[in-house]
């Protein structure tokens, strides 16, 4: 019973992290969330346990997060992804900072003080602009695999401008760009820039800035563009896609220790 589990069932992917009593990651698993969250979580756990050579009895406490956080029957606790991404990033960068989590369906800006306490947060408005879903839509419109976007955008020499707020309008703008003969890579880079603009509009971000979430993990160019826009190099923790699950695992460890303390 010396390990702790964090499971983040997000809108698109389920991520699971197992840590030891020192907070070190010993195993991870990643699957599409699908429609049966409990089954997906179970499969993630089995995969991670097998990878680490552990059994279920070795897991002392589990904390869940993400949209499916209440659908994991074996989780002892749950927290929002806002708490977990903040906690995970603060573990790697213990200082006052703002965390930007770019997810599949929504974005969050999480402000943390020097003690790790959350002081404020913001979620994006009910709109897909600036999220992973926006990039998925753009990839679909351009008949590209979403996994190709970063590589293509890296090749861009002349970025296309996409001005629309709305994903549907942006997709229409792309049709115009295609008709105008602009290059695919320039249009894709324009879509990346659009994501950055939508994030920038969410909140005032001063001081250190860290990035988290799957969209950043798969699209390193976004990190560069965010750095350009905010005028400073963003901090990126290892495995940003797993940051929510990692933060949840840290909460599981802390909770377990608290419960073990004599009253």
């Amino acid at each position: 019973m010396s390990h702790y589990c964090g499971i983040d069932v997000g809108a698109s992917a389920a991520k699971l992290v197992l840590i030891d009593a020192g907070g070190k990651v010993v195993a991870r698993a990643l699957r599409r969330s699908g429609i049966a969250y409990a089954e997906t979580a179970e499969a993630c756990l089995a995969e991670a346990l097998a990878g680490a050579g552990l059994s279920r009895d070795d897991v002392a406490h589990t904390a869940s997060t993400g949209y499916g956080r209440h659908n994991i029957p074996w989780a002892n606790d749950s927290s929002t992804e806002i708490a977990c991404h903040g906690r995970g990033v603060f573990h790697h960068f213990p200082r006052a900072l703002a965390v930007i989590d770019i997810g599949a369906q929504d974005n969050k800006v999480i402000h943390i003080d020097a003690s790790g306490r959350r002081t404020h947060f913001k979620m994006n408005r009910k709109c897909a602009a600036g999220t992973g879903a926006f990039l998925e839509e753009i990839a679909y419109r351009m008949n590209l695999d979403v996994g190709e976007l970063n590589r293509l955008a890296e090749r861009s020499t002349k970025e296309a401008s996409l001005g629309s707020f709305c994903t549907v309008f942006a997709a229409t703008e792309i049709l115009t760009r295609i008709r105008d003969g602009e290059k695919v890579e320039d249009i894709v880079k324009g879509a990346f820039r659009s994501v950055v603009k939508r994030v920038m509009e969410m909140d005032v971000i001063e001081g250190d800035l860290a990035l988290s979430g799957g969209v950043v993990a798969h699209n390193p160019l976004l990190v560069k563009l965010i750095g350009e826009t905010f005028g400073r190099e963003p901090l990126v923790p290892p495995d940003p896609q797993f940051m929510g699950a990692f933060g949840a695992a840290l909460f599981a460890l802390e909770k377990s220790r608290k419960e073990a303390m004599p009253c």
């Binding site: 929002t80 806002i82 708490a83 306490r117 002081t119 947060f121 979620m123 408005r125 009910k126």
Partner: protein, 407 residues
């Protein structure tokens, strides 16, 4: 964790007074009464004093929202040229009229009463006038009203005079429609009764300053019914005396609206009518009580004074929160936050109600700096659930309470 909202024993009495009101409304013509449609924030007293049955379409709008009929009816009005971006009370109500579907039918009543005259006050927004004019065209009846000052700081005498004169100027048309003369003594009586109702409603709301609070915002959105539609009538006074007694007993017994109340929140903006139950349940699960709101406080009209009917009505209806500028609004919220011992502020950014959405001009940031209180914003709408995300809102609220717990 399953939680149940604690019902009030007075609820049965409320159902009775509200039920009687709706029956009376639908029997207007049969009883030889004329019906005036009126905006919820006045000038109801004048209409009541002249013998009208007074019907409040905003109340119907809220019923359409709470019964979750609104989202299906709004598109019918949209198709007629009323944009999905304008007041969803208006679009839901016109959709209801077009579809001939109303929560009245669930009470086995035929539907909202047809107006003999429509009387608006733009103190809340321009939409109420546009809304009433639709029906004036439909039924070829007069639509008259008051154009109130908006976004004002201090209410000066010129503004009050203008509104008072406009109220007086309604009288000839109202006399003509109802067929009887205006009687100032009768108006004084109604204003006196209305003032009493409003005082009692204020006392009801103020019981929430107790820790734990015996009542939550979600209860108040239901309990406010008589203050909106029956003020000026004895039945509203009788009801609030009963409710107040029950609330005081709850306070004496330490009975909380939210079991284990740990956090106290201020709700700024419109209710999300179709989600009252879900939100109430979530806040209860999180042991957070929404103890006060701008919305429910908006039916407190302390300026009403029977000795000076027109000027006091003008002052009462022009000094409400919604028609003020941000400085008095912020001062008001600050006072409420202190009075109700609030830990955090929730702003509802209602897509179709800019006039009741106060988070669009940096107010949350200014108040956070001044009061040191955290805030959150829910993007939603009063009636149009196409503009609301259950999942995002649930996570947003849960994360906010997590943050309050960390503090």
């Amino acid at each position: 964790m399953a939680v149940e909202r604690r019902d009030f024993e007075s609820n049965q009495a409320m159902r009775q007074v509200m039920g009687d009101y709706f029956v009376e409304l639908t029997k207007g013509a049969e009883n030889g009464k004329k019906t005036a449609w009126c905006t919820s924030v006045g000038p109801a007293e004048l209409l009541l004093s002249m013998g009208y049955n007074v019907y409040f379409p905003e109340n119907h709008g809220a019923m359409l929202g709470a019964s979750r009929m609104a989202t299906d009816l709004i598109p019918l009005a949209n198709a007629q040229g009323y944009s999905p971006d304008i007041c969803s009370y208006l679009t839901a109500d016109i959709g209801s009229y077009l579809a001939k579907q109303s929560p009245f039918q669930k009470m086995k009543l035929p539907g909202p009463p047809k107006a003999d005259v429509l009387v608006f006050n733009t103190n809340q927004c321009r939409d109420v006038k546009d809304w009433f004019q639709f029906y004036a065209r439909e039924w070829d009846v007069p639509c008259i009203g008051i154009h109130s000052p908006r976004a004002c700081g201090d209410l000066d005498l010129a503004m009050v005079d203008s509104v008072a004169k406009q109220i007086e100027q309604l009288i000839p048309t109202l006399e003509q429609v109802v067929g009887q003369k205006f009687d100032i003594d009768r108006l004084r009586e109604v204003i006196k009764s209305s003032r009493r109702c409003t005082e009692l409603w204020k006392q009801v709301l103020e019981t929430a300053a107790n820790v734990p609070s015996p009542i939550s915002f979600f209860d108040e959105t239901i309990q406010m019914g008589p203050a909106v539609v029956l003020r000026g009538q004895q039945s509203a006074i009788d009801y609030y005396e009963l409710l107040l007694k029950e609330l005081r007993q709850r306070v004496a017994d330490g009975v909380a609206a939210v079991e284990g109340e740990s956090f106290r929140i201020y709700w700024e903006g419109m209710p999300i009518w179709g989600k009252l139950k879900d939100l109430s349940t979530q806040f209860m699960q999180l042991k957070a009580c929404v103890v006060a709101s701008t919305y429910c406080n908006s039916w407190i009209f302390e300026a009403l004074d029977p000795s000076d009917p027109f000027e006091s009505m003008a002052r009462a209806y022009s000094s409400i929160f919604i028609c003020r500028s941000d400085d008095p609004k912020e001062a008001y919220i600050e006072e409420m936050v202190q009075k109700y011992k609030v830990n955090g502020i929730l702003y509802h950014d209602a897509k179709t109600c800019p006039n009741n959405s106060n988070c669009r001009y940096q107010m949350p940031q200014r108040l956070q700096t001044r009061l040191g209180l955290p805030y959150m914003i829910v993007n939603g709408d009063l009636n149009d659930l196409r503009l609301y995300s259950d999942e995002q809102t649930r996570t947003n609220i849960e994360a906010f309470v997590e943050q309050l717990a960390e503090a």
